[in-house]
């Protein structure tokens, strides 16, 4: 452990540096260089700012890829399994810019136990390699025997060498073939989208890591145990839904939209013996893992009979990845009968199809999910939050694929199977993308922006289509108008990929009655008017701008501490005796006790703001313009339209009003202390969070307002 790290708990103390061109391996002191940026995305943005010059391409050896974890990774803090992967984003259109992918699993903890807070990879190996990390023994190993293999085989091979406890983050054939729509996956199903090809461009097949150390907690151990129990008591189900989906004896409220689907009569049917999830009183901390069944939530009630159990990340009792056993999928398609995933990964295969013979929640749809998971999680394909599938449906049903793909190639696909919802169609399509086969496979693998450019389709056409939910720069919206109205819109303008921000949606969808949400909102953001009922929005106000700022900063805070922003912040809870309050200070309590660096909620939020502003600065520097409001923070047309013609601010529409959104952006920039005209942070805004030198550098380039 590095000397300076001994002052602090939490951090491992070292950042591992690897140059694949030269084979050089060295370490840096985390505390000396990166403490002010915590870890995760913070370290990632710092390295990109300091070391990757503007104009670098994502597949250039000069691009770097940073696997960053935070001081809470590998501790007992709940939901601490996130690894943030920062690099230049190959699907960011028209120009690749910095972005981050996020994976759960066990990689983060294992990296900490090996003694590292981050790995920074640069250069390019002259042949396929994998990086072996066993504590302080780090080696670049030949991966020619793995090249061409899927992620599962690669993982097994490396685990045979490092031991079954090793965490392996590997790319599949898609990443090897430099398909921008590719992922890296660890622990079977935990993927980070968009970065597979960046690893492939460096001839880096995988990173295998095994750590035998531990993470030191600086504070009093009894206090730490007490804090962990307290945090656990505030947890809901996945996405911090704090009420059950159906009435349960203990519950005052329920919501059919909740991911807390456990109930008497609902059992993991493929467990042996089947296990009834039961009523799951929130005070019973040993049953938190029964609350969520994302297979049932996403695929319908039929999935209960196929459920083996939940699975998930280190230190997380939520288990949002559901393991399902579908024997018919094995029998019909020759794939494993047991697979696992969550959310978009679970639905990867199903989402390509418009129709199934037995409906969207029938047996065939589940089998399509199985085939999709099997292929995508082995080939290492990314869905770009479902944009790949939405694009595919539009391109096919509007005849665009037929017109853009050559006759013979077009005929090679079994379109009749596709239209009927036959999952075997996926065996034709998905390998084509991963291997860049033909025009269709190649184009789909580029990501939306570059696909549209290649096929001469104006991006504006995509921005008008309500069903596509495309936002900008090659990526879709991610919890925008449908989650907190104007707040969701603001958030979706801020990043260079689909935004990986869940702070707001985790609150808005928590299932509590509007009146309770408003009471909590008043305490958090100053007024009950910060939140509205879904699809029943009121005009913009300053409290919504405060909520937007809080939402963004908590995202960066979580991604830098390794906490899961798919679960936190924990500002609501299932506990009636607390008035359903959570605790907005939980992150600072955990951070302070784990590291020994005592920080209040406000102080830690300022660190988060520093990290967020560094991302903004990187974007401005690499775009070469300060005109962010007009060039970057753009909003697609569909946001201002309603398919049924409803006016903004009427019940039953997510439609936004143009003038109101202009006001929303004004208020947001003001709340951030940025320049309203350009949407760029002022020199003072940078200096306030300790980024004076960043401001100076931008000033020299004329990139300050």
């Amino acid at each position: 452990m590095a000397k300076t790290a001994t002052r602090y708990g939490g951090w491992a103390g070292k950042v591992l540096r690897v140059n694949l061109s030269t084979g050089k391996i060295w370490t840096e002191d985390t505390i000396e260089k990166y403490k002010d940026f915590l870890g995760g995305t913070g370290i990632g943005y710092k390295v990109m700012w300091d070391e990757v010059p503007p104009g670098t391409g994502p597949f250039d050896p000069a691009n770097k890829i940073i696997f960053g974890v935070g001081p809470l990774a590998g501790t007992g803090a709940p939901c601490n399994g996130r690894t943030a992967i920062t690099t230049l984003w190959p699907t960011c259109w028209p120009k690749p810019l910095v972005a981050t992918g996020h994976m759960g699993g066990h990689f983060a903890a294992e990296l900490k136990y090996a003694g590292y807070d981050a790995i920074v990879i640069e250069g390019k190996a002259d042949h396929p390699v994998w990086l072996s990390i066993v504590d302080d023994r780090v080696e670049i190993k030949d991966a020619r025997y793995l090249w061409g293999q899927g992620i599962r085989r690669t993982t097994v091979e490396i685990c045979q060498e490092l031991g079954p406890e090793a965490a392996v983050a590997a790319i599949g054939q898609a990443g090897e073939n430099l398909v921008p729509m590719s992922v890296v996956i660890n622990s079977i199903s935990h993927s980070a989208g968009g970065v597979g090809a960046v690893m492939g461009s460096k001839n880096l097949k995988a990173i295998g890591v095994r750590g035998t150390g531990s993470v030191r907690i600086a504070g009093n151990k009894e206090e730490w145990e007490k804090l962990i129990k307290y945090h656990l008591s505030l947890l809901g189900a996945n996405n911090q839904h704090v009420v059950p989906a159906t009435p349960q004896p203990w519950a005052e409220y329920s919501s059919p939209g909740s991911r807390w689907v456990a109930s008497r009569g609902k059992a993991w049917g493929a467990a042996d013996p089947p296990l009834e999830t039961g009523t799951c009183d929130p005070h019973d901390l040993n049953r938190i893992a029964y609350r969520t069944n994302n297979a049932a939530f996403y695929l319908g009630d039929l999935a209960w009979q196929y459920t083996v159990r939940g699975n998930g990340c280190t230190g997380c009792p939520i288990r949002c990845h559901t393991i399902i056993r579908v024997p018919s999928a094995a029998a019909k398609y020759g794939i494993p009968e047991v697979l696992q995933n969550t959310c978009a990964g679970l639905m990867f295969g199903r989402s390509f199809f418009k129709n199934f013979p037995d409906g969207p929640r029938g047996q065939t749809a589940i089998e399509a999910c199985m085939v999709g998971m099997y292929l995508a999680d082995d080939l290492g394909l990314w869905c770009n939050y479902g944009q790949l599938q939405r694009d595919f449906q539009k391109l096919y049903y509007e005849g665009i694929i037929k017109s853009k793909v050559g006759g013979d190639e077009y005929k090679r696909y079994s379109w009749d199977k596709y239209e009927k919802g036959d999952p075997t169609f996926l065996f034709e399509l998905l390998p084509s993308i991963a291997y860049k086969k033909g025009e269709l496979g190649t184009a789909l693998g580029l990501g939306t922006g570059y696909l549209l450019e290649r096929w001469g389709i104006p991006e504006e056409e995509w921005k008008r289509d309500h069903n596509l939910t495309y936002w900008k720069m090659g990526h879709p919206k991610h919890h925008s108008v449908e989650d907190a109205g104007q707040c969701g819109v603001i958030i979706n303008t801020q990043y260079n990929r689909d935004v990986q921000v869940h702070s707001h949606t985790n609150f808005i969808r928590n299932g509590l009655p509007l009146e309770v949400q408003k009471r909590l909102a008043a305490e958090l953001w100053g007024s009950p008017d910060a939140v509205d009922a879904p699809g029943n929005y009121t005009p913009m106000n300053v409290y919504k701008a405060r909520m937007a700022k809080w939402t963004l900063l908590r995202k960066e805070l979580h991604d830098s501490l390794s906490l899961c922003n798919w679960m936190g912040p924990w500002v609501a809870s299932p506990l009636k005796e607390r008035g359903y309050r959570g605790d907005d200070s939980i992150e600072s309590l955990l951070y302070s006790l784990a590291t020994g660096d005592r920080k209040t909620r406000e102080e830690l939020d300022q660190v988060a703001e520093r990290i967020f502003l560094l991302h903004r600065a990187l974007t401005i520097r690499d775009m070469g313009t300060k005109e962010m409001r007009t060039q970057h923070d753009t909003i697609p047309e569909w946001v201002f339209e309603d398919p049924s013609g409803k006016a903004p601010f009427t019940p039953g529409t997510n439609r936004m009003d143009r003038d109101d959104i202009r006001k929303a952006m004004d208020m947001y920039y003001e709340e951030m202390g940025w320049d309203k005209t350009t949407g760029a942070p002022t020199a003072e805004a940078y200096r306030r969070v300790g980024l004076g030198r960043v401001a100076e550098e931008l000033g020299k380039k004329g990139l300050l307002p």
Binding site: E252, P256, T279, Y298, P360, G386, E482, G535
Partner: protein, 199 residues
């Protein structure tokens, strides 16, 4: 209750306390299992445990005893059932809203559906999937639910209970007293399809 009255009933103070604790424990046990405690269960329990000898005016004495349970044990609550008798539950294990659902379930199923739908439309506000009533704690059969909805459609007192169907084919119920059709349809689509499609 005055000590004198208990003495007249033949119980000592400690016996009385023990009876209250035992009744509260039974109510809690039932609540934990998701059930209301009915008066006859309490009577049977008292008899089984040997708490007898309440003497003349036994019913009245029992009522007084249960009232004392509520006073001594803060978590014990009661609600009147459709027959006018009180049902008991423990707030430690059962919410008031769930207890209300259970009481409604004992009565007219049409009223059960209507009141539950109205409450949801007013409170959250949101519509309720019809399938809500085939799961716990309602557990109507599909046939019973269908018959109820058919019957409600022709009854004036349920004229505010309306239906909307999501694009996935799920039927939702709402009350026009609290939600208009357009908004109810929007929310049904959001709950049934939109949330899962926007993970």
């Amino acid at each position: 209750m005055a000590v004198k009255e208990w003495e007249e009933a033949g119980w000592t103070d400690s016996e009385r306390e023990e009876a209250c604790r035992a009744l509260a424990a039974l109510i809690r046990e039932q609540s934990q299992a998701g059930r209301l405690c009915h008066p006859e269960e309490l009577r049977a329990y008292l008899a089984e445990k040997g708490f007898t000898g309440l003497g003349a005016g036994e019913e009245e004495e029992r009522a007084k005893l249960l009232e004392e349970v509520r006073q001594r044990q803060e978590d014990i609550r009661s609600l009147p059932g459709p027959d006018g008798e009180l049902r008991y539950y423990s707030l430690q294990y059962m919410s008031e809203s769930y207890a209300r659902l259970l009481v409604r379930r004992e009565g007219d199923p049409l009223l059960l559906i209507a009141e539950t739908v109205r409450e949801s439309s007013a409170l959250y506000p949101r519509p309720v999937p019809a399938s809500f009533f085939t799961g716990p704690p309602f557990e109507l059969t599909e046939e019973e639910l269908h018959a109820c909805l058919e019957s409600m459609a022709s009854r004036e007192e349920y004229g505010d209970i309306a239906r909307t169907t999501s694009s996935a084919g799920t039927v939702f119920l709402y009350s026009t007293r609290h939600l208009d059709h357009g908004y109810a349809s929007f929310l049904a689509e959001w709950l049934d399809v939109g949330q899962a499609a926007n993970p």
